[in-house]
Amino acid sequence: MRLTINGKSQEVDVDPTTPLLWVIREQVGLTGTKYGCGVAQCGACTVHVDGLAVRSCSVPVSAVAHAKITTIEGLATGKTLHKVQKAWLDHDVPQCGYCQSGMIMAVAALLKQKPKPSDADIDAAITNICRCGTFQQVREAIHMATKTA
């Protein structure tokens, strides 16, 4: 099966029912996308599939064979960080950081749909779990990111 991840097309030899998360982590070798629950509850595994935020632990790889997949490693453009990553750095958002790949991917997808989200938009779209409790900084950083070009 061929997959297009971060702009690169590559062949993977896996059972088609394997969750996309584990193909990304174990076959492709990109470990920035995290396993947290395996049942689409926590969002640590969030990637973009054709620009939309998807919880990769609960998507069989066969369902995305023809899609454009972006992981946290592919969010920046070359050495230029995505504005969400920049805001996260500027505002020192992560604590342990384990959920932040998924959090950043979810927020980046939101900003693509709604460049200036309200607090209510954020509440509705960002349902990722963060056990360290970075939510206050996450919200502030989202608003910071919307102010940058």
Partner: protein, 732 residues
């Protein structure tokens, strides 16, 4: 403008170097024979055990306390860099290993990172390590220039000879400095003069956390590594009876099926997904042992009996006979509270990667206690201390779960790796395994009886705890030394010390009937302050109400002898506007506690819709930790602690049925989302002195009772058991 951060954590070589994995020279340090310079792995000289200076003027600061998000590595580096007069933009961090520490007579001291001790209990010796290094570097420059040390100053990793204006860098004199004898008298700066410590500097580890390159235990890759998934007997105290490896041995990727000790079975495969898939298919027959029928109701009944038991351990006693004083009180108030089992639910499930050979055993993975993990690898590997080591990595959450517990994931990983000598094995628990085999927040019930005089003032208080001791399970030697008592049970209500009761009650008795069910308990962020704060701070409001007094005024009268506790309580109350009426529909509550040597208080504003939909709008949190090493990180720890604490208050309970935990994942063990996050306003008010208080845990305990007190005010209903979901209450 966004600058790329200048700081990186120097990744140890294990990711790329198979020599480091297999060789007997896994120590990153090169120790000299006899007197001489100790060198880091790259050859740079060590000035003191805490400081290595590279020729390019990079300062490598050693940290042995674990980083799990709480900001400890940044704070400790600030303290060392402050005394060192280092250029903060050239600071990187390195973790020495427990094996290196053992080889050097425990040169770095305590590794364990729990009890909010990371900074407060090592601040002095790490600062001295930085100051001594500065003195040696300055002396090396002065010697080279043949001038008195007193004419030289250091700043930003540059040494200046004032009279001549000559300058040199730390990098240039490091070799000479490393050959000097360490000074014995090392004075420290007055914290009032700090320029790096005490400032809200950014964390050192953020860059890799926003681009996916930070390596957590789950991400480790070693050459030739295989993956393991494990299932331990779901009933605590049970064992493996039988399984048939042939059932899954032909499945894709499967290499081996192994028994893990008496209690578990693991599948080893090329990928973890293959290992887990095969394990899920495997039929395992368990001998469920003596606890196979135990339920939450049985446990609750056992604890309930302790509420009136005769035999107890005393944690705090003052004044006369409490029973007599209560009998003579004008008004007597009584209430029973309870607190459930809770899982830590770290975002990164438990894992450890181990390579075992008859000659050497090493573990790579997340631990809050490198030395504790070292001891477990030592015991499980059957090898000598100079043949084992532990390499810590960034933790995807800790909260006490990644401390050292008997028969836990580190031991499992060694027992599995031993069955495939020479092959590195990464053991990863599924979320379901993580939920089923936690080290749970202990269960506790509490009966409180208070006596008021005719004016509504508290004259007598009996607080009876009944429930589980963590130390009885985890550190039985402490219990033995205490003649059966678990002093930790009394956190926040103890007679003295870092967890002392911040009220003076004329007749007081706080005691504990220890009841230890079969479910293994653990240190859960805040530990016993979580339930003790809910019990005592809710009951203080109940007493105030019964006495017809304002909860703040009622507390103030009991706190005259506890000025720092009163200070934070007053600060939180003032900022929330306690003396003025709350806006329409808004209800307020407050709470305070002294724990981990910090004084903390919270005041909150909530609204309640339809009697059960609670919105927490705002929490003002005041903390007096003595010293504030990084105020920005303290703010984040406070806000984060409320997410952890309020998730527990509203949603979290691990129930027991047929001897096992019923909850399996986040769908039935919920955690707060951003929509439910209140606005948190922190007041950081360090008052200095001789005591350094903790940061990671203390504030967690005051959010719960503050919200419960506000809820009682809003609805007239006093909730006395956690979690609130059991009362039909939602957090919106």
């Amino acid at each position: 403008m966004t600058a790329m951060p200048k700081f990186t954590i120097s990744r140890r070589k294990f990711l790329v170097s198979s020599a480091a994995v297999g060789g007997g020279l896994a120590l990153g340090l090169r120790l000299p024979f006899g007197p001489g310079v100790v060198r880091a792995a790259d050859g740079s000289p060590e000035i003191t055990v805490w400081v290595v200076i590279r020729p390019d003027n990079t300062t490598v600061i050693r940290v042995v306390r674990a980083e799990m998000g709480q900001g400890t590595i940044t704070g400790l580096a600030q303290l060392v860099a402050e005394e060192l007069e280092a250029d903060w933009s050239k600071v990187v961090i390195e973790y020495p290993t427990p094996g290196e520490s053992v080889a050097r007579k425990r040169a770095w001291g305590e590794f364990s990172t729990g009890g909010s001790r990371g900074i407060r209990q090592s601040n002095e010796y790490v600062r001295k390590g930085g100051a001594a290094a500065r003195m040696m570097l300055v002396k090396a420059a002065a010697d080279e220039w043949k001038v008195p040390v007193s004419e030289c100053t250091a700043s930003n990793s540059v040494i200046t000879h004032k009279p001549s204006g000559k300058k040199t860098t730390y990098g240039k004199v490091a070799e000479a400095a490393a050959r000097l004898e360490q000074p014995k008298d090392v004075p420290l700066k007055d914290p009032k003069t700090w320029k790096i410590a005490g400032k809200p500097l950014k964390r050192l580890d953020t860059a890799q956390k926003v681009n996916g390159t930070m390596t957590y235990g789950i991400d480790l890759k070693l050459p030739g590594m295989l993956n393991a998934a494990v299932k331990d007997c779901p009933v605590f105290g049970g064992k493996v009876k039988s399984f048939d490896a042939n059932q899954v041995s032909g499945m894709t990727g499967v290499t081996k099926v192994v028994q893990v000790g008496d209690t578990g079975v693991a599948v080893i495969a090329d990928t973890w997904w293959h290992a887990k898939t095969a394990l899920d298919t495997l039929t395992i027959t368990w001998d469920e042992g003596p606890n196979a029928k135990v339920s939450s109701a049985d446990i609750a009944q056992t604890l309930k009996e302790g509420l009136d038991a005769e035999q107890t351990f005393v944690g705090n006693k003052a004044g006369g006979d409490v029973k007599e004083a209560l009998a003579g009180a004008a008004k007597k108030i009584e209430a029973v509270y309870s607190y459930p089992y809770q899982n830590h639910a770290c975002m990164e499930p438990m894992n450890a990667t181990v390579r075992w050979t008859p000659e050497r055993c090493e573990m790579w993975g997340p631990t809050q206690n490198g030395e504790g993990a070292f001891a477990q690898v030592l015991a499980a590997s059957g090898l000598a201390a100079d043949k084992v080591d532990v390499h810590n990595v960034m933790l995807g959450g800790g909260f006490g779960r990644r401390g050292t517990y008997p028969d836990d994931y580190v031991t499992q990983a060694v027992l599995i790796a031993k069955q495939m000598p020479g092959t590195p094995i990464k053991l990863l628990w599924s979320r379901e395994e993580d939920m089923a085999h936690g080290k749970y927040h202990p269960v506790m019930q509490c009966k409180l009886v208070g006596g008021l005089d005719a004016s509504g003032n508290l004259t007598a208080l009996h607080m009876r705890l009944s429930g589980q001791s963590i130390l009885a399970s985890v550190r039985p030697e402490v219990i033995q030394a205490q003649k059966g008592r678990d002093p930790l049970t009394f956190q926040g209500v103890f007679e003295s010390g870092e967890h002392s009761f911040a009220y003076t009650v004329p007749n007081l008795l706080i005691d504990h009937a220890m009841r230890n069910p079969h479910v293994p308990p653990g240190f859960w962020r805040g530990v016993n302050i979580n339930q003790n704060a809910v019990f005592i701070e809710s009951f203080m409001d109940e007493l105030a109400e019964a006495g017809g007094q304002d909860p703040l005024e009622f507390r103030r009268k009991l706190m005259a002898n506890h000025p720092r506790a009163l200070g934070v309580l007053n600060a939180a109350a003032e900022k929330i506007g306690w003396s003025k009426p709350a806006p329409a529909g808004i209800h307020r509550g407050l709470a305070q506690m002294h724990c981990f040597d910090s004084y903390v208080a919270a005041a909150c504003e909530i609204s309640v819709k339809d009697g059960n939909k609670v919105k927490v709008h705002r929490i003002v949190a005041a903390t007096d930790p003595g010293y504030a090493v990084n105020p920005a990180q303290i703010e984040r720890q406070i806000a984060g602690s409320f997410v952890y604490g309020l998730s527990a208050l509203f949603f979290q309970e691990c129930t027991v049925k047929d001897g096992r935990i019923e909850q399996s994942n986040f769908h039935n063990y919920n955690s707060m989302r951003i929509a439910q996050m209140p606005k948190v306003e922190s007041i950081i008010m360090p008052t200095g002195g001789t005591i350094w208080g903790g940061i990671g845990e203390p504030t967690i305990c005051v959010a719960g009772p503050a919200v419960l007190n506000a809820y009682a005010k809003a609805t007239g209903k006093r909730i006395r058991s956690v979690p609130l979901k059991n009362h039909g209450i939602q957090l919106v």
